[in-house]
Symmetry: C2
Subunit: 362 residues, 2 copies
């Protein structure tokens, strides 16, 4: 059984296919490849698992491969240069299609490389982690990190299609899997309280990787995200809601060093911090803050800031975030579960209290 | 006196201002800057000449500066990283406007950095060479080079406006100035035979840097280019005509090593080669080939391939060019002066003869 969602972006619209064993479906690829050349970009962890099956599905094409090191710490311009080296060494033309086979890091780098190579070639996303299936599948954000800030260098660039094969989730380790759940929970918190309730009731099925529950969660997450992105492709307004937990989360990721804290883990903590601050603003009841904290714990996610980050570190790291406008940190907070808001009128003392609480080893 | 041309690209339309001493005009900048922050990207040669006057014009803004090394050999991802370093170190937000102050290399790199920083911030082009005033001013092409190919990594990204200050041409050395004339001549050859005739008659005035003649040549060149770009912003068709001389020229630049041959010099040779091949195809009379060769000489441009490049080197270097489609090299050739055509049905033996002639020390 395969679910197909359409991300509506005018002439840049594209389908997301969700189902089991899609990687072997030649026709899903060939419908979306215009030329005869393909470069598969993947990493050392994913290649042994899925590269052969994808190559077999692409038997009718000239297929070249770039295998990158695995990890967020390699999401840099310097590593992206390896993709360009491969493209040029193999003399792949402007008609090449780049296929991103891997998690969010591979999707972000291969997508950004596709945006830049010869000023833009088509690409196909094949996300193999839960996080990338529900996050980078939708939205067209591609980027690499800079030592001073995450995703600071990138492009808005839409794929030709996304293939989310749920069978690939069986090889994810528990920590990576939970990291993906953080992003799933986020959609419930932003604008879908019904989905949040469903997640509370079905978290044990999801943790057990029940295929039907997973497919449902992925499709609903992509749908929720697609609705927001379709309204605001280039992040001028409402799309910023998707950054719930991200301003705190990016500071945690940067402060701890890329690779030490998974993205989903960092934003899980960030969402709990946003809930705490929302409560201090009088917007969210203690009961709901507790539910948010408990669903993270049920998903085996952390709810405390790791390492020795101080309040001052946080303020410092948050001030380089992309959400800063004219020197003001903009945060995504919660008016309710299912009702996120973009706020720059939060209380500075309340923010200080939240930071103090979470950096004191809560 | 100031000329204003509008480049018509829908919501990405922008003006080009052409005139003397525009760098000091605060209002030209401020009309096109939305935030309070500016990063000026320039190089070691241009900074001592024009940085102060631009900074003075921007007295109402927070101004940061990135000074790069000067030369085509520095148009790389690694050098572009210095722009990102400066942006992040200075904590410039998504509201920053990047100002490219310099020639084509600075414009290409600063423009590409603007396209990528936080997935896109506004930028203003202040081209200070003749080549960049008539070429990179119009078209929105930004890029860096790869060791295996020129402009292979980049983006289509339009500026907020272009300020072409003709007074900056007085500090150009003769070789750089002639290199710009090659691009001016190109517009006449592509689709403006009247302009070509005018250039034949006024070349000595231009070489003497007569301000009125220069302003006229720059405005007409930008107009000719803008007409073509407006029809085909993302280079799907007719825009490829602008690559007249470029397939041969890029091979010369890459083959001789970036920095040894100026861009305009390389495409001057490339245009003479394209004319030679067009004659072999029976499309161009010997008389017109001679006129093309002579206008290059009158502009103090080279018409012979430098170094020890062989025919085989050419074929090899041209096969990685962006104009290659499904393995076929596409060349821009001449049906007449003022009538360029995109061709992949030229005679292979004729191409071999042209390459043999030009690599034998013609």
């Amino acid at each position: 059984m395969m679910n197909t969602l359409q991300v509506a972006l005018g002439e840049r619209s594209y389908p997301i296919y969700i189902g089991e064993d899609l990687l072997a479906e030649s026709s899903l690829f060939s419908t979306h490849i215009r030329g005869k050349e393909v470069l598969i970009v993947t990493n050392e962890t994913v290649a042994p698992l899925y590269l052969d099956v994808v190559k077999t599905a692409l038997i009718d094409y000239r297929v070249e491969v770039a295998i990158l090191p695995d990890g967020e710490q390699y999401k840099t311009l310097a590593v992206m240069q390896q993709i360009f080296d491969r493209l040029l060494e193999a003399r792949l033309s402007r008609q090449v299609t780049i296929i991103a086979l891997g998690g969010g890091v591979i999707g972000d780098m291969a997508g950004f490389a596709a945006a830049c190579y010869q000023r833009g070639v088509p690409f196909i996303q094949v996300p193999t982690t839960l996080l990338s299936q529900v996050d980078s599948s939708v939205g067209g954000k591609t980027a690499v990190n800079h030592p001073l800030g995450k995703n600071m260098i990138g492009a808005f660039y839409q794929p030709q299609c996304v293939l989310a094969d749920t069978a690939t989730l069986n090889t994810l380790d528990d920590r990576q899997f939970s990291s993906g759940l953080a992003e799933v929970i986020k959609y419930g918190l932003i604008n879908d309280s019904e989905f949040f309730n469903w997640l509370e009731q079905n978290m044990s099925l999801l943790i057990a990787r029940d295929p039907a529950a997973l497919a449902q969660a992925i499709a609903r997450s992509c749908q929720d995200k697609a609705t927001i992105v379709a309204d605001d492709e280039r992040e001028q307004g409402v799309r910023a809601l998707l950054n719930l937990g991200h301003t705190f989360g990016h500071a945690i990721e940067t402060g701890c060093g890329y690779g030490h804290c998974l993205h989903g883990e960092a934003i899980a903590i960030g969402m709990v911090m946003a809930a705490d601050l929302s409560q201090r603003m009088g917007w969210l009841s203690e009961d709901k803050v507790t539910r948010i904290r408990e669903i993270m714990l049920a998903a085996n996610l952390p709810v405390a800031v790791p390492g020795n980050l101080t309040s001052a570190d946080f303020m410092d790291l948050m001030s380089v975030d992309k959400k800063v406008q004219d020197g003001l940190i903009r945060l995504v907070l919660l008016r309710d579960i299912g009702q996120a808001v973009i706020s720059d009128d939060y209380d500075a003392p309340a923010l200080a209290e939240t930071l103090a609480k979470f950096t004191a080893g809560y």
